[in-house]
Amino acid sequence: MTHARRQGLATAGAQAAAVLTVLAAWEGAVRAGRLSQEFVSRPGAVAAEIWRWIATGELWPHLGATVSAALAGLVLGLGLGAALGLLLALVPLLADLCEPALATLNATPRIVFYPVLALWLGLGIASKIALVVTIVAFVGLFTVLEAVRAVDRTVVAQVRVLGASSAAMLRHVYLPATLVWIAAGLRTSLGFAFVGAILGEYMASMRGLGYLIIGAQHLFQPARVMAGLVVAMALVWALDAGLATLDARWSAWRQEPRHEG
Protein backbone atom coordinates (compact mmCIF):
# COMPACT_ATOMS: atom_id res chain seq x y z
CA MET A 1 0.00 0.00 0.00
CA THR A 2 1.46 3.38 -0.98
CA HIS A 3 2.07 6.09 1.58
CA ALA A 4 -0.63 8.28 0.08
CA ARG A 5 -3.15 5.50 0.22
CA ARG A 6 -2.27 4.75 3.80
CA GLN A 7 -2.62 8.40 4.68
CA GLY A 8 -5.99 8.54 2.95
CA LEU A 9 -7.28 5.55 4.86
CA ALA A 10 -5.95 6.88 8.12
CA THR A 11 -7.73 10.17 7.53
CA ALA A 12 -10.99 8.46 6.61
CA GLY A 13 -10.62 6.34 9.69
CA ALA A 14 -10.08 9.37 11.88
CA GLN A 15 -13.13 11.06 10.43
CA ALA A 16 -15.36 8.03 10.84
CA ALA A 17 -14.12 7.67 14.37
CA ALA A 18 -14.89 11.31 15.09
CA VAL A 19 -18.45 10.99 13.79
CA LEU A 20 -19.11 7.77 15.68
CA THR A 21 -17.65 9.23 18.86
CA VAL A 22 -19.97 12.23 18.69
CA LEU A 23 -22.99 10.03 18.05
CA ALA A 24 -22.04 7.61 20.80
CA ALA A 25 -21.39 10.41 23.26
CA TRP A 26 -24.72 11.99 22.42
CA GLU A 27 -26.59 8.70 22.84
CA GLY A 28 -24.75 7.96 26.03
CA ALA A 29 -25.34 11.40 27.54
CA VAL A 30 -29.07 11.13 26.94
CA ARG A 31 -29.33 7.64 28.35
CA ALA A 32 -27.33 8.69 31.39
CA GLY A 33 -29.76 11.52 31.97
CA ARG A 34 -27.21 14.30 31.36
CA LEU A 35 -29.15 15.56 28.31
CA SER A 36 -32.91 15.68 28.08
CA GLN A 37 -34.34 13.36 25.46
CA GLU A 38 -37.43 15.53 25.10
CA PHE A 39 -35.21 18.40 24.09
CA VAL A 40 -32.36 17.07 21.98
CA SER A 41 -33.52 13.50 21.34
CA ARG A 42 -30.89 10.84 20.67
CA PRO A 43 -29.52 9.11 17.56
CA GLY A 44 -31.29 5.89 18.46
CA ALA A 45 -34.68 7.57 18.65
CA VAL A 46 -34.14 9.38 15.37
CA ALA A 47 -33.18 6.16 13.63
CA ALA A 48 -36.17 4.40 15.14
CA GLU A 49 -38.48 7.12 13.85
CA ILE A 50 -37.08 6.85 10.35
CA TRP A 51 -37.45 3.09 10.47
CA ARG A 52 -41.04 3.46 11.64
CA TRP A 53 -41.79 5.80 8.75
CA ILE A 54 -40.46 3.30 6.26
CA ALA A 55 -42.04 0.25 7.88
CA THR A 56 -45.50 1.77 8.18
CA GLY A 57 -45.27 3.35 4.75
CA GLU A 58 -45.95 6.77 6.25
CA LEU A 59 -42.90 8.26 4.57
CA TRP A 60 -43.70 7.57 0.95
CA PRO A 61 -46.58 9.96 0.17
CA HIS A 62 -44.67 12.81 1.79
CA LEU A 63 -41.40 11.91 0.11
CA GLY A 64 -43.26 11.65 -3.17
CA ALA A 65 -44.82 15.09 -2.75
CA THR A 66 -41.50 16.78 -2.08
CA VAL A 67 -39.68 14.94 -4.85
CA SER A 68 -42.47 15.71 -7.33
CA ALA A 69 -42.42 19.40 -6.50
CA ALA A 70 -38.65 19.58 -6.69
CA LEU A 71 -38.26 17.63 -9.92
CA ALA A 72 -41.18 19.28 -11.68
CA GLY A 73 -39.83 22.70 -10.76
CA LEU A 74 -36.32 21.65 -11.75
CA VAL A 75 -37.30 20.49 -15.21
CA LEU A 76 -39.63 23.41 -15.88
CA GLY A 77 -37.24 25.95 -14.43
CA LEU A 78 -34.15 24.76 -16.25
CA GLY A 79 -36.07 24.42 -19.48
CA LEU A 80 -37.55 27.88 -19.23
CA GLY A 81 -34.25 29.41 -18.15
CA ALA A 82 -32.32 27.66 -20.90
CA ALA A 83 -34.75 28.76 -23.57
CA LEU A 84 -34.59 32.37 -22.37
CA GLY A 85 -30.83 32.19 -22.12
CA LEU A 86 -30.58 30.96 -25.69
CA LEU A 87 -32.87 33.74 -26.84
CA LEU A 88 -30.82 36.39 -25.08
CA ALA A 89 -27.56 34.96 -26.37
CA LEU A 90 -28.72 34.95 -29.97
CA VAL A 91 -30.45 38.36 -29.86
CA PRO A 92 -27.85 40.71 -28.37
CA LEU A 93 -30.24 43.65 -28.26
CA LEU A 94 -32.56 41.80 -25.90
CA ALA A 95 -29.60 40.85 -23.77
CA ASP A 96 -28.49 44.47 -23.49
CA LEU A 97 -31.95 45.54 -22.42
CA CYS A 98 -32.67 42.81 -19.93
CA GLU A 99 -29.40 41.77 -18.43
CA PRO A 100 -29.09 44.35 -15.61
CA ALA A 101 -32.63 43.69 -14.43
CA LEU A 102 -32.04 39.95 -14.59
CA ALA A 103 -28.77 40.24 -12.71
CA THR A 104 -30.54 42.18 -9.95
CA LEU A 105 -33.28 39.58 -9.76
CA ASN A 106 -30.67 36.85 -9.67
CA ALA A 107 -28.93 38.51 -6.76
CA THR A 108 -32.19 38.63 -4.84
CA PRO A 109 -32.95 35.45 -2.91
CA ARG A 110 -36.07 34.29 -4.70
CA ILE A 111 -37.42 32.71 -1.56
CA VAL A 112 -38.58 36.19 -0.60
CA PHE A 113 -41.11 36.06 -3.40
CA TYR A 114 -42.84 32.98 -2.01
CA PRO A 115 -45.73 34.89 -0.39
CA VAL A 116 -46.61 36.39 -3.78
CA LEU A 117 -46.60 32.93 -5.33
CA ALA A 118 -48.73 31.60 -2.47
CA LEU A 119 -51.12 34.48 -3.03
CA TRP A 120 -51.46 33.65 -6.71
CA LEU A 121 -51.27 29.89 -6.75
CA GLY A 122 -52.61 28.90 -3.38
CA LEU A 123 -51.01 26.66 -0.81
CA GLY A 124 -50.85 23.46 -2.80
CA ILE A 125 -48.04 21.98 -4.86
CA ALA A 126 -48.35 24.61 -7.56
CA SER A 127 -46.80 27.38 -5.50
CA LYS A 128 -43.95 25.08 -4.46
CA ILE A 129 -43.22 24.21 -8.07
CA ALA A 130 -43.42 27.87 -8.99
CA LEU A 131 -40.92 28.77 -6.26
CA VAL A 132 -38.50 26.13 -7.49
CA VAL A 133 -38.96 27.42 -11.04
CA THR A 134 -38.08 30.98 -10.03
CA ILE A 135 -34.98 29.79 -8.22
CA VAL A 136 -33.76 27.42 -10.88
CA ALA A 137 -34.67 29.38 -14.01
CA PHE A 138 -31.94 31.89 -13.32
CA VAL A 139 -29.34 29.17 -13.06
CA GLY A 140 -30.47 27.83 -16.41
CA LEU A 141 -30.60 31.26 -17.99
CA PHE A 142 -27.16 32.45 -16.96
CA THR A 143 -25.58 29.07 -17.58
CA VAL A 144 -26.83 28.96 -21.15
CA LEU A 145 -26.01 32.61 -21.72
CA GLU A 146 -22.43 32.07 -20.62
CA ALA A 147 -22.15 28.81 -22.56
CA VAL A 148 -23.20 30.36 -25.85
CA ARG A 149 -21.01 33.39 -25.33
CA ALA A 150 -18.09 31.17 -24.45
CA VAL A 151 -18.21 29.33 -27.75
CA ASP A 152 -14.97 30.18 -29.46
CA ARG A 153 -15.56 32.65 -32.27
CA THR A 154 -13.05 30.82 -34.37
CA VAL A 155 -15.16 27.69 -34.13
CA VAL A 156 -18.23 29.65 -35.14
CA ALA A 157 -16.38 31.18 -38.11
CA GLN A 158 -15.09 27.76 -39.17
CA VAL A 159 -18.53 26.17 -39.16
CA ARG A 160 -19.96 29.14 -40.99
CA VAL A 161 -17.31 28.83 -43.71
CA LEU A 162 -18.22 25.16 -44.04
CA GLY A 163 -21.64 26.41 -45.09
CA ALA A 164 -23.80 25.68 -42.08
CA SER A 165 -27.32 27.05 -42.05
CA SER A 166 -28.69 28.66 -38.88
CA ALA A 167 -30.41 25.41 -37.98
CA ALA A 168 -27.16 23.51 -38.47
CA MET A 169 -25.31 26.06 -36.32
CA LEU A 170 -27.83 25.49 -33.55
CA ARG A 171 -27.60 21.74 -33.83
CA HIS A 172 -23.86 21.29 -34.18
CA VAL A 173 -22.49 24.28 -32.28
CA TYR A 174 -24.79 26.02 -29.83
CA LEU A 175 -26.84 23.15 -28.45
CA PRO A 176 -23.92 20.82 -27.71
CA ALA A 177 -22.03 23.72 -26.14
CA THR A 178 -24.90 24.51 -23.82
CA LEU A 179 -25.82 20.93 -22.99
CA VAL A 180 -22.63 20.29 -21.12
CA TRP A 181 -23.00 23.43 -19.04
CA ILE A 182 -26.60 22.46 -18.33
CA ALA A 183 -25.38 19.17 -16.94
CA ALA A 184 -23.16 21.10 -14.54
CA GLY A 185 -25.95 23.54 -13.74
CA LEU A 186 -28.17 20.58 -12.97
CA ARG A 187 -26.08 19.67 -9.97
CA THR A 188 -26.24 23.15 -8.49
CA SER A 189 -29.92 23.42 -9.22
CA LEU A 190 -30.77 20.11 -7.64
CA GLY A 191 -29.93 21.32 -4.16
CA PHE A 192 -31.84 24.55 -4.73
CA ALA A 193 -34.84 22.66 -6.03
CA PHE A 194 -35.19 20.55 -2.91
CA VAL A 195 -34.55 23.45 -0.61
CA GLY A 196 -37.21 25.45 -2.43
CA ALA A 197 -39.74 22.65 -2.23
CA ILE A 198 -39.11 22.04 1.46
CA LEU A 199 -39.13 25.72 2.40
CA GLY A 200 -42.41 26.10 0.56
CA GLU A 201 -43.74 23.22 2.60
CA TYR A 202 -42.56 24.86 5.80
CA MET A 203 -44.56 27.94 5.00
CA ALA A 204 -47.81 26.16 4.24
CA SER A 205 -48.57 22.67 3.06
CA MET A 206 -50.55 19.54 3.64
CA ARG A 207 -47.94 17.01 2.68
CA GLY A 208 -44.28 16.65 2.00
CA LEU A 209 -41.08 16.25 3.98
CA GLY A 210 -41.31 19.89 4.97
CA TYR A 211 -44.83 19.28 6.25
CA LEU A 212 -43.57 16.42 8.42
CA ILE A 213 -40.76 18.51 9.80
CA ILE A 214 -42.68 21.66 10.55
CA GLY A 215 -45.56 19.65 12.02
CA ALA A 216 -43.14 17.91 14.32
CA GLN A 217 -41.67 21.24 15.33
CA HIS A 218 -45.05 22.63 16.28
CA LEU A 219 -45.73 19.54 18.39
CA PHE A 220 -42.30 19.76 19.92
CA GLN A 221 -41.08 16.37 18.70
CA PRO A 222 -37.32 16.72 18.16
CA ALA A 223 -36.90 13.10 17.06
CA ARG A 224 -39.34 13.55 14.23
CA VAL A 225 -37.82 16.89 13.24
CA MET A 226 -34.37 15.38 13.03
CA ALA A 227 -35.66 12.27 11.28
CA GLY A 228 -37.19 14.46 8.58
CA LEU A 229 -34.01 16.50 8.23
CA VAL A 230 -31.87 13.37 7.98
CA VAL A 231 -34.09 11.94 5.23
CA ALA A 232 -34.04 15.25 3.33
CA MET A 233 -30.30 15.63 3.49
CA ALA A 234 -29.67 12.00 2.62
CA LEU A 235 -31.91 12.39 -0.41
CA VAL A 236 -30.11 15.49 -1.67
CA TRP A 237 -26.73 13.94 -1.02
CA ALA A 238 -27.58 10.71 -2.85
CA LEU A 239 -28.98 12.52 -5.88
CA ASP A 240 -25.96 14.81 -6.03
CA ALA A 241 -23.58 11.86 -5.89
CA GLY A 242 -25.47 10.20 -8.75
CA LEU A 243 -25.31 13.37 -10.82
CA ALA A 244 -21.60 13.73 -10.11
CA THR A 245 -20.82 10.41 -11.76
CA LEU A 246 -22.98 11.28 -14.75
CA ASP A 247 -21.36 14.68 -15.05
CA ALA A 248 -17.88 13.15 -15.05
CA ARG A 249 -18.79 10.84 -17.88
CA TRP A 250 -20.49 13.45 -20.05
CA SER A 251 -17.78 16.05 -19.89
CA ALA A 252 -14.92 13.85 -21.05
CA TRP A 253 -14.12 16.39 -23.71
CA ARG A 254 -13.52 19.18 -21.27
CA GLN A 255 -10.17 17.99 -20.03
CA GLU A 256 -7.29 20.43 -20.13
CA PRO A 257 -5.85 20.29 -23.64
CA ARG A 258 -2.32 19.01 -23.96
CA HIS A 259 0.23 21.61 -24.91
CA GLU A 260 3.09 19.79 -26.53
CA GLY A 261 3.71 20.17 -30.25
Binding site: T154, V155, A157, R160, V161, G261
Partner: protein
Amino acid sequence: MRVEVSAPALPVAAPAGDDRGVPAVEVVRLTRTFAGTGTAVPALVDVSFTVAPGEFVSVVGPSGCGKSTLLHLICGLLRPSQGEVRIFGTPAGRVQPGRIGYVFQRDALLPWKTALDNVALPLLLRGTPPARARQTARAWMHRVGLAGFEHHYPSQLSGGMRKRVALAMTMVYHPALILMDEPFAALDVQTRNLMENELLALWAQTASTILFVTHDLEEAIALADRVVVLTRRPGRVKAIYTVDLPRPRDVTEVRGSEAFVATYRRIWADLRDEVLAAHGHA
Protein backbone atom coordinates in the same frame (compact mmCIF):
# COMPACT_ATOMS: atom_id res chain seq x y z
CA MET B 1 16.85 30.65 -61.22
CA ARG B 2 14.38 33.17 -62.49
CA VAL B 3 12.96 35.83 -60.26
CA GLU B 4 10.30 38.14 -61.59
CA VAL B 5 9.10 41.21 -59.82
CA SER B 6 5.88 42.69 -61.10
CA ALA B 7 4.90 46.31 -60.75
CA PRO B 8 2.53 46.77 -57.82
CA ALA B 9 -1.16 47.58 -58.27
CA LEU B 10 -1.45 45.81 -61.61
CA PRO B 11 -3.08 42.40 -62.07
CA VAL B 12 -0.39 39.81 -62.41
CA ALA B 13 -0.42 37.52 -65.43
CA ALA B 14 -0.58 33.81 -64.73
CA PRO B 15 2.80 32.10 -64.66
CA ALA B 16 4.15 31.10 -68.04
CA GLY B 17 2.71 27.89 -69.39
CA ASP B 18 -0.52 28.11 -67.45
CA ASP B 19 -3.63 28.80 -69.43
CA ARG B 20 -6.31 26.80 -67.72
CA GLY B 21 -8.97 29.44 -68.28
CA VAL B 22 -10.79 30.93 -65.34
CA PRO B 23 -8.43 31.95 -62.52
CA ALA B 24 -9.06 30.40 -59.14
CA VAL B 25 -8.86 33.74 -57.38
CA GLU B 26 -9.07 37.19 -58.91
CA VAL B 27 -8.51 40.10 -56.61
CA VAL B 28 -9.13 43.39 -58.41
CA ARG B 29 -8.35 46.72 -56.73
CA LEU B 30 -9.58 45.39 -53.41
CA THR B 31 -9.99 47.93 -50.64
CA ARG B 32 -11.38 47.35 -47.18
CA THR B 33 -11.87 50.02 -44.59
CA PHE B 34 -13.04 49.50 -41.04
CA ALA B 35 -15.16 52.08 -39.26
CA GLY B 36 -13.66 52.98 -35.94
CA THR B 37 -14.94 55.51 -33.39
CA GLY B 38 -14.81 58.58 -35.58
CA THR B 39 -12.15 57.93 -38.18
CA ALA B 40 -12.10 55.17 -40.78
CA VAL B 41 -9.20 52.72 -40.60
CA PRO B 42 -8.07 51.37 -43.97
CA ALA B 43 -6.85 47.79 -43.70
CA LEU B 44 -6.23 47.01 -47.36
CA VAL B 45 -5.90 49.46 -50.21
CA ASP B 46 -6.03 48.72 -53.92
CA VAL B 47 -4.84 45.13 -53.73
CA SER B 48 -4.75 43.20 -56.99
CA PHE B 49 -3.43 39.79 -57.91
CA THR B 50 -4.54 36.55 -59.51
CA VAL B 51 -4.13 32.94 -58.54
CA ALA B 52 -4.31 30.23 -61.16
CA PRO B 53 -6.08 26.94 -60.49
CA GLY B 54 -3.86 24.42 -58.75
CA GLU B 55 -1.31 27.04 -57.71
CA PHE B 56 0.18 27.37 -54.26
CA VAL B 57 0.55 31.06 -53.45
CA SER B 58 1.92 32.49 -50.22
CA VAL B 59 1.13 35.92 -48.86
CA VAL B 60 3.64 37.56 -46.53
CA GLY B 61 3.77 40.92 -44.84
CA PRO B 62 4.49 42.56 -41.49
CA SER B 63 2.05 42.10 -38.62
CA GLY B 64 -1.14 44.05 -39.02
CA CYS B 65 -0.80 44.44 -42.77
CA GLY B 66 -4.22 42.94 -43.38
CA LYS B 67 -3.30 39.38 -44.35
CA SER B 68 -6.18 37.87 -42.36
CA THR B 69 -8.56 40.55 -43.64
CA LEU B 70 -7.56 39.58 -47.15
CA LEU B 71 -8.51 35.97 -46.53
CA HIS B 72 -11.79 36.95 -44.89
CA LEU B 73 -12.62 39.03 -47.95
CA ILE B 74 -11.75 36.21 -50.31
CA CYS B 75 -13.89 33.65 -48.55
CA GLY B 76 -16.80 36.01 -48.17
CA LEU B 77 -16.76 36.47 -44.40
CA LEU B 78 -16.25 40.19 -45.08
CA ARG B 79 -17.40 42.39 -47.94
CA PRO B 80 -15.06 44.74 -49.81
CA SER B 81 -15.38 48.48 -49.37
CA GLN B 82 -14.21 48.84 -52.93
CA GLY B 83 -13.02 46.51 -55.63
CA GLU B 84 -13.91 42.94 -56.39
CA VAL B 85 -12.98 39.43 -55.50
CA ARG B 86 -13.91 36.58 -57.81
CA ILE B 87 -13.55 32.88 -57.10
CA PHE B 88 -13.54 30.84 -60.30
CA GLY B 89 -15.44 33.67 -61.91
CA THR B 90 -18.10 34.03 -59.21
CA PRO B 91 -18.12 37.05 -56.89
CA ALA B 92 -16.81 36.06 -53.45
CA GLY B 93 -20.05 36.66 -51.58
CA ARG B 94 -21.98 34.31 -53.84
CA VAL B 95 -19.69 31.32 -53.91
CA GLN B 96 -21.20 28.04 -52.85
CA PRO B 97 -19.80 26.97 -49.49
CA GLY B 98 -18.45 23.70 -50.86
CA ARG B 99 -15.82 25.35 -53.03
CA ILE B 100 -13.78 27.10 -50.37
CA GLY B 101 -11.93 25.67 -47.40
CA TYR B 102 -10.43 27.70 -44.56
CA VAL B 103 -7.83 26.63 -42.05
CA PHE B 104 -7.60 28.99 -39.08
CA GLN B 105 -4.55 29.74 -37.01
CA ARG B 106 -6.32 29.11 -33.76
CA ASP B 107 -8.06 25.86 -32.94
CA ALA B 108 -11.32 25.71 -34.84
CA LEU B 109 -12.26 22.13 -34.00
CA LEU B 110 -15.54 21.65 -32.21
CA PRO B 111 -14.39 20.59 -28.76
CA TRP B 112 -17.52 18.59 -28.00
CA LYS B 113 -17.18 16.35 -31.05
CA THR B 114 -14.69 13.56 -31.50
CA ALA B 115 -11.96 13.91 -34.12
CA LEU B 116 -13.92 11.67 -36.45
CA ASP B 117 -17.13 13.65 -36.02
CA ASN B 118 -15.22 16.87 -36.66
CA VAL B 119 -13.85 15.57 -39.94
CA ALA B 120 -17.25 14.20 -40.90
CA LEU B 121 -19.04 17.47 -40.12
CA PRO B 122 -18.54 19.21 -43.52
CA LEU B 123 -19.98 16.18 -45.26
CA LEU B 124 -22.94 16.02 -42.87
CA LEU B 125 -23.64 19.69 -43.53
CA ARG B 126 -23.80 18.87 -47.21
CA GLY B 127 -26.39 16.19 -46.70
CA THR B 128 -24.12 13.16 -46.94
CA PRO B 129 -25.70 10.23 -45.09
CA PRO B 130 -24.02 9.86 -41.68
CA ALA B 131 -22.68 6.36 -42.31
CA ARG B 132 -20.95 7.35 -45.53
CA ALA B 133 -19.73 10.61 -44.04
CA ARG B 134 -18.06 8.72 -41.19
CA GLN B 135 -16.52 6.25 -43.61
CA THR B 136 -15.01 9.00 -45.71
CA ALA B 137 -13.88 10.81 -42.58
CA ARG B 138 -12.19 7.65 -41.35
CA ALA B 139 -10.30 7.35 -44.62
CA TRP B 140 -9.09 10.92 -44.32
CA MET B 141 -7.99 10.44 -40.75
CA HIS B 142 -5.95 7.52 -41.94
CA ARG B 143 -4.51 9.70 -44.69
CA VAL B 144 -3.30 12.31 -42.24
CA GLY B 145 -1.78 9.66 -40.05
CA LEU B 146 -4.32 9.67 -37.24
CA ALA B 147 -5.77 6.18 -37.59
CA GLY B 148 -6.77 4.98 -34.15
CA PHE B 149 -7.53 8.44 -32.80
CA GLU B 150 -11.00 8.70 -34.28
CA HIS B 151 -12.80 8.73 -30.95
CA HIS B 152 -10.49 11.12 -29.17
CA TYR B 153 -11.73 14.57 -28.31
CA PRO B 154 -9.64 17.56 -29.40
CA SER B 155 -8.60 18.20 -25.80
CA GLN B 156 -7.06 14.73 -25.78
CA LEU B 157 -4.89 15.39 -28.84
CA SER B 158 -1.63 17.29 -29.15
CA GLY B 159 -1.39 20.55 -31.09
CA GLY B 160 0.08 18.89 -34.15
CA MET B 161 -2.60 16.22 -34.13
CA ARG B 162 -5.32 18.84 -33.87
CA LYS B 163 -3.84 20.61 -36.89
CA ARG B 164 -3.92 17.36 -38.82
CA VAL B 165 -7.56 16.90 -37.93
CA ALA B 166 -8.17 20.47 -39.12
CA LEU B 167 -6.46 19.67 -42.42
CA ALA B 168 -8.50 16.50 -42.85
CA MET B 169 -11.65 18.43 -41.99
CA THR B 170 -10.84 20.98 -44.68
CA MET B 171 -9.88 18.56 -47.40
CA VAL B 172 -12.55 15.94 -46.82
CA TYR B 173 -15.01 17.79 -49.04
CA HIS B 174 -12.45 18.57 -51.75
CA PRO B 175 -12.74 22.34 -51.87
CA ALA B 176 -11.27 23.75 -55.03
CA LEU B 177 -9.73 26.66 -53.13
CA ILE B 178 -8.16 26.39 -49.69
CA LEU B 179 -7.34 29.48 -47.64
CA MET B 180 -4.87 29.05 -44.82
CA ASP B 181 -4.31 31.73 -42.19
CA GLU B 182 -0.94 31.12 -40.51
CA PRO B 183 -2.11 27.58 -39.75
CA PHE B 184 1.15 26.35 -38.28
CA ALA B 185 2.16 29.45 -36.35
CA ALA B 186 1.17 28.01 -32.99
CA LEU B 187 3.20 24.82 -33.40
CA ASP B 188 6.76 24.23 -32.36
CA VAL B 189 9.34 24.28 -35.14
CA GLN B 190 9.77 20.54 -35.57
CA THR B 191 6.05 19.87 -35.73
CA ARG B 192 5.69 22.79 -38.08
CA ASN B 193 8.18 21.32 -40.55
CA LEU B 194 6.41 17.99 -40.42
CA MET B 195 3.07 19.65 -41.07
CA GLU B 196 4.47 21.65 -43.96
CA ASN B 197 5.65 18.50 -45.66
CA GLU B 198 2.33 16.80 -45.03
CA LEU B 199 0.52 19.77 -46.48
CA LEU B 200 2.58 19.58 -49.66
CA ALA B 201 1.91 15.84 -49.91
CA LEU B 202 -1.83 16.32 -49.50
CA TRP B 203 -1.83 19.19 -51.96
CA ALA B 204 -0.09 17.04 -54.54
CA GLN B 205 -2.85 14.47 -54.17
CA THR B 206 -5.82 16.82 -54.29
CA ALA B 207 -4.66 19.46 -56.80
CA SER B 208 -6.54 22.20 -54.92
CA THR B 209 -5.55 25.81 -55.18
CA ILE B 210 -3.97 27.05 -51.98
CA LEU B 211 -3.60 30.60 -50.73
CA PHE B 212 -1.32 30.50 -47.69
CA VAL B 213 -0.85 33.47 -45.38
CA THR B 214 2.19 33.53 -43.12
CA HIS B 215 4.61 35.88 -41.46
CA ASP B 216 7.41 33.32 -41.88
CA LEU B 217 9.21 34.09 -45.12
CA GLU B 218 11.10 30.78 -45.14
CA GLU B 219 7.85 28.88 -44.86
CA ALA B 220 6.30 31.02 -47.58
CA ILE B 221 9.08 30.30 -50.05
CA ALA B 222 9.51 26.64 -49.15
CA LEU B 223 5.86 25.88 -49.80
CA ALA B 224 4.79 28.15 -52.64
CA ASP B 225 4.91 28.67 -56.38
CA ARG B 226 4.65 32.42 -55.91
CA VAL B 227 4.99 34.81 -53.00
CA VAL B 228 2.92 37.98 -52.67
CA VAL B 229 4.54 40.63 -50.48
CA LEU B 230 2.22 43.11 -48.77
CA THR B 231 3.25 46.46 -47.35
CA ARG B 232 2.61 47.45 -43.77
CA ARG B 233 -0.83 48.80 -42.92
CA PRO B 234 -2.71 49.79 -44.95
CA GLY B 235 -1.73 46.72 -46.97
CA ARG B 236 -0.93 47.09 -50.64
CA VAL B 237 0.82 44.66 -52.93
CA LYS B 238 4.48 45.58 -52.82
CA ALA B 239 5.75 42.84 -55.12
CA ILE B 240 5.00 39.35 -56.34
CA TYR B 241 7.85 36.86 -56.69
CA THR B 242 7.94 33.58 -58.54
CA VAL B 243 9.61 30.74 -56.69
CA ASP B 244 11.42 28.53 -59.11
CA LEU B 245 12.37 25.55 -56.98
CA PRO B 246 11.70 21.99 -58.19
CA ARG B 247 8.91 19.84 -56.82
CA PRO B 248 8.38 17.60 -54.97
CA ARG B 249 10.09 19.48 -52.14
CA ASP B 250 11.10 18.59 -48.63
CA VAL B 251 10.85 21.80 -46.66
CA THR B 252 13.85 21.10 -44.45
CA GLU B 253 16.14 20.07 -47.29
CA VAL B 254 15.11 22.75 -49.74
CA ARG B 255 16.01 25.45 -47.25
CA GLY B 256 19.67 24.63 -47.69
CA SER B 257 19.75 24.97 -51.47
CA GLU B 258 21.46 27.96 -53.10
CA ALA B 259 18.38 28.79 -55.12
CA PHE B 260 16.34 29.02 -51.94
CA VAL B 261 18.83 31.26 -50.21
CA ALA B 262 19.05 33.60 -53.17
CA THR B 263 15.26 33.85 -53.41
CA TYR B 264 15.07 34.50 -49.69
CA ARG B 265 17.57 37.33 -49.91
CA ARG B 266 15.73 39.04 -52.75
CA ILE B 267 12.33 38.89 -51.08
CA TRP B 268 13.64 39.77 -47.64
CA ALA B 269 15.09 42.95 -49.01
CA ASP B 270 11.55 44.05 -49.83
CA LEU B 271 9.92 42.65 -46.75
CA ARG B 272 12.46 44.02 -44.31
CA ASP B 273 11.67 47.64 -45.15
CA GLU B 274 8.03 47.01 -44.47
CA VAL B 275 8.67 45.23 -41.19
CA LEU B 276 10.96 47.99 -39.98
CA ALA B 277 8.51 50.66 -41.03
CA ALA B 278 5.72 48.82 -39.27
CA HIS B 279 7.79 48.89 -36.09
CA GLY B 280 8.37 52.60 -36.35
CA HIS B 281 11.85 52.70 -37.78
CA ALA B 282 12.77 54.68 -40.89
